[in-house]
């Protein structure tokens, strides 16, 4: 047995030393001496496997105890472990989630909108109930043995087509019962059209709700503007969002922001959202053309990585004070995370997860909607472009040379395919910025879990 060192990553943060074994997905907290020995093994070309390590321990007996613990980890398959030699067979097509773009229209004009301010570079249009019902039928028919199905109402702004959303939920719920399935509904909204009646329906029927708000008033209103460019969007939506969340009764939601080059101090926006009363928060890096003034560029990266550290400390401080919040990207599930099949399928775009345009056309995901080269088929005819669907199935980390040697591969699953295509022109090469940010978020998450679990164990 030889050590596979390529995917072993070591780092220290806030006085914690961590080791990630990328091939097995294992994450260890170690003391300083152990970290030093692991780094020595990684850097030493003469230590190829357990026998070489045992030889080293004979020469340096003071390392015996640590060395034997490392050898035990190797035996358990949790350090210097080997990767799969080949991918499991290509998965069959089982559609389990649909994103319904119920409105290709929006009542805001956000500067960075990837949906081209709501119309997805086409006509402003709303999805008819007939198309939405056909999408429900398509999902049920193509979900095979899967019980739990997901449907997410997106846009544009889905509240601009509220009647169709409401009637689709009713129809899907009734159909699900007939076929022994259950639906989890999600809606993403900018909040402008929320009313107490709509909020009640969302809180009763939606498994999750994503509320678009970027943080501090000046940050939000700079990029999220009304059609007339007058008034404060922040002032309109905050009371509505807080009312909705107050009545959510523990159900899932996210106050979800986007950060841009204008607010590289985005931890302050997360803090602001928490101060307002939101405790489930997500803050995503903007996606878009690198030439736009709001775009995140390479020169911003060091500042962004520092900001994630600042956010991690803010997260800890508030947890310790007894008033914590949940940050989406710091929630990595280490004990009961997804299986390797899921980590290879990633988001499942193109064969498990599809987006439906108002016309009824199917796309690999919401980010491809409106791109004629990426039409997969229709809700009536199903997936017709099998070649395109297969290309998404094959676009997993084992087929991407950069990912194969990366410690983070089974946590990020190769990143967002659309971002990779947009930034690098091919799904086989990665969006380097997104990659670096994802790795930093993972490090912060592992660090936070190390701190959180410190008191639960007597060892270390």
């Amino acid at each position: 047995m030889l050590f596979d060192k390529v995917c072993v990553h070591t780092f220290s943060q806030g006085g914690q030393h961590l080791v990630v074994d990328g091939n097995s997905g294992a994450v260890h907290v170690v003391d300083g001496e152990t970290l030093t020995l692991i780094k020595r093994i990684c850097d030493n070309d003469r230590i190829h496997g357990p026998d070489d390590l045992k030889e080293l321990l004979e020469v340096e007996p003071q390392l015996t105890e640590i060395g034997h613990e490392l050898l035990a980890l190797v035996q358990e398959g949790l350090l210097f472990s080997s990767d799969l030699t080949e991918a499991p067979p290509r998965p069959e097509t089982v559609v389990k989630a649909l994103c319904l773009n119920v409105a290709h229209d929006c009542n805001l004009r956000c500067e960075y909108c990837f949906a081209s301010t709501g119309d997805f570079k086409g006509e402003r249009e709303l999805m008819s109930l007939d198309v939405a019902k056909a999408a429900v039928d398509f999902l049920i028919q193509n979900s095979k043995h899967r019980k739990q199905l997901e449907m997410d109402f997106f846009g544009g702004e889905p509240l601009m087509n509220w009647d169709v959303v409401r009637e689709t939920v009713d129809y899907a719920s009734a159909e699900a019962e007939k076929y022994g399935k259950t639906f989890r509904f999600t809606i993403t909204t900018n909040g402008i059209g929320l009313t107490p009646e709509i909020e009640d329906f969302i809180n009763e029927h939606m498994y999750n709700v994503v509320l678009s708000i970027d943080g501090r008033q000046e940050v939000n209103d700079r990029v999220r503007q009304t059609v007339s460019r007058r008034g404060s969007v922040y002032e309109i939506i905050i009371p509505k969002f807080l009312r909705l969340v107050r009545n959510r009764r523990g159900k899932s939601y996210y106050a979800r922001g986007t950060f841009t080059a204008y607010n590289l101090d985005f931890a302050s926006d997360v803090a602001h959202l928490h101060d307002l009363g939101f405790d489930q928060i997500s803050m995503e890096p903007v996606v878009g053309d690198a030439n736009e003034p709001y775009a995140l560029r390479k020169e911003h990266l060091p500042r962004i990585l520092e900001e994630y550290d600042r956010l991690a400390e803010l997260y800890l401080d508030r947890q310790r004070s007894g008033d914590g919040f949940n940050f989406f990207h710091f929630n990595v599930e280490l004990k009961k995370g997804p299986c390797l099949y899921k980590r290879l399928s990633g988001c499942g775009a193109g064969y498990e997860y599809l987006a439906v345009a108002p016309s009824g056309e199917l796309f690999p995901c919401h980010q491809f909607v409106g791109e004629s080269d990426y039409v997969l088929g229709t809700v009536w005819g199903g997936i017709e472009n099998q070649e395109l669907s297969t290309s998404f199935k094959d676009s997993h980390v084992l087929n991407k040379p950069v990912c194969r040697s990366c410690w983070a591969k089974y946590y990020c699953s190769g990143g967002c395919e659309k971002n990779n295509l947009q930034k690098a022109g091919t799904g086989k090469v990665l969006d380097e910025m997104a990659c670096n940010m994802e790795k930093k978020r993972l490090e912060c998450s592992f660090y936070l879990q190390a701190v959180r679990t410190e008191s639960e164990t007597e060892s270390v």
Binding site: C99, D152, T186, N208, Y254, K342, Q367, Y410, S413, S459
Partner: protein, 49 residues
């Protein structure tokens, strides 16, 4: 059976390869349905088995 260790505390569960024997049911949440919509965050999902 894992050896009790003095210098190392493991935060994660069993090696991922082990999940090839039991996983693949597909009942877990689709990652893009959660909150991101713009980045792949599979590690955030929980196994629902």
């Amino acid at each position: 059976m894992q050896m009790k260790k003095k210098h190392i505390r493991t935060l994660s569960g069993t090696a991922l390869k082990e999940t090839l024997k039991t996983g693949g049911c597909g009942e877990c949440q689709t990652s893009c349905q959660s909150a991101c919509k713009t980045s792949c965050t599979v590690g955030n999902q929980a196994c629902e088995k």
